[in-house]
């Protein structure tokens, strides 16, 4: 954290709480998506993609560790990355609802990945210029990895969408079923507004426009149709999740919950 924003957070308790929640949203989205991708290990269609998905998961979990560590420091209650990852329940997780959606088939996983990669590209490129030096450093690092992820996911999107009738049908179906969860990506609430006002994060409207343009271009290359906007009753950013998250956490947290404090 920069000296300036550290001092501001100490002075302003509400700002500190908002920053904690903001960093958790980023961290939890990466962690939950990384855990989902890990479910593919040993099950992907071919070995190369098995390795590819595992590598994406590694990067995402690495980003989550940096962010969770920082969140714990902002909170100042002695919780480290492990306490935050393994000992919170679903309503305390603030990831995007999209990230927790089940893997489905390979097309489903690719569409989910591509939508979040495109979102992270915009969020991280803005955060790389944040007044919060710690977040700026994490974002600049994550951005390089995210560019690589997007190349992978948009490449697969084009091959599947512009592929056989079967791959095309499955990819369009995945897009149509996941699209409703994108309403949340750039829906600013009081946390986002406070971050923007403090110069920590950029306003979400320009990022949303860039995201939409990129998504439209990628869909064009994949010859897929953009779905119509859909109503969205979930708000993972606020801890309101689909039931899928509970099952994911049940598996991810099982060991620490059963044997608290266990170590290798």
């Amino acid at each position: 954290m920069s000296a300036g924003s550290a001092a501001a957070v100490r002075r302003d308790r509400a700002l500190g709480e908002a920053l904690f929640r903001y960093v958790l949203r980023l961290a939890d989205t990466s962690l939950v998506l990384g855990q989902r991708l890990g479910e593919w290990v040993g099950h992907a269609p071919v070995l190369e993609e098995d390795l590819g998905l595992a590598n994406l998961a590694l990067d995402l979990i690495g980003q989550a560790r940096l962010l969770l560590t920082y969140a714990g420091e902002i909170e100042g209650k002695g919780r480290d990355e492990d306490a935050l990852a393994y000992l919170r329940d679903a309503p305390e997780f603030l990831n995007l609802t999209l990230a927790e959606q089940p893997n489905g088939d390979f097309a489903h996983t690719i569409v989910r990945q591509w939508l979040i990669d495109a979102w992270q590209l915009e969020i991280y490129s803005d955060l790389a210029g944040s007044s919060d030096e710690r977040l700026a450093a994490i974002a600049a690092k994550a951005l390089k990895e995210t560019r690589y992820h997007h190349r992978f996911s948009s490449g697969w999107l084009a091959r599947l969408g512009d592929g056989t009738a079967e791959s095309r049908g499955r990819t369009q179906a995945a897009l149509d079923s996941l699209w409703r969860f994108t309403a949340e990506l750039f829906a600013a609430d009081e946390v986002d507004e406070r971050m923007a006002a403090a110069g920590i994060a950029a306003p979400l409207v320009p990022a949303a426009e860039r995201w939409s343009a990129r998504v439209a271009a990628d869909l064009g290359a994949a010859t897929l149709a953009l779905p119509a906007p859909q109503a969205h009753p979930w708000y993972g950013k606020r801890g309101v999740h689909t039931e899928h998250l509970g099952h994911l956490l049940g598996e991810m947290q099982h060991l620490q919950r059963t044997y608290p404090g266990v170590r290798w």
Binding site: L51, G52, D59, R65, F152
Partner: protein
């Protein structure tokens, strides 16, 4: 003047020491070859500071590199040296040194150079990418269409 010369000497010794710490996943290259060691310097009270940076956020080798660096410093009598993890600026494959490029190529891994990947076995530039990802976070998977051998290429980021 002799004090300044001496302190320069210690820093150079530490660089040499760290140049012998291998990367745990690609042991033919050292952590200096990969650009992981960012600085070795002494502060105003003479305490040694060593800065290292992770390559990829999720690289499982990061913790091993940290402990191997610590062990190398301790074994050489620098137990009081401060080992600092640096995040910014973010690591880039551009930081892999020329010596690192040569060692990677000799080991059969195409180094992270701009332009088409060259086959590390036959030298041909007639190569194709099989996958964006390989056996470690820092590598992608390629194939030479000349000699037909598959090979790893260090990712450019």
């Amino acid at each position: 003047m002799s004090g300044a010369a001496q302190s320069l000497g210690v820093e150079q010794q530490v660089w040499q020491l760290l140049a012998a710490v291998p990367d745990p996943e690609i042991p033919v290259v050292s952590i200096v070859d990969l650009g992981i060691v960012r600085y070795v310097r002494r502060d105003s009270v003479g305490r040694l500071h060593v800065g290292i940076t992770p390559t990829y956020s999720g690289c499982p080798a990061t913790a091993v590199i940290r402990s191997a660096t610590r062990a190398a410093l301790d074994a050489a009598g620098h137990a009081d040296a401060l080992l600092e993890e640096v995040l910014a600026p973010a690591w880039s494959s551009d930081w892999v040194t020329p010596a690192g490029h040569a060692r990677l190529a000799a080991f059969g891994i195409a180094p992270p150079a701009a332009g088409p990947a060259r086959c590390p076995r036959c030298g041909s530039a007639a190569t194709e990418r099989i996958s964006e990802f390989g056996s470690t976070p820092c590598k992608a998977h390629y194939r030479c269409t000349e000699c037909r051998e598959p090979f790893d290429r260090f990712k450019c980021i």
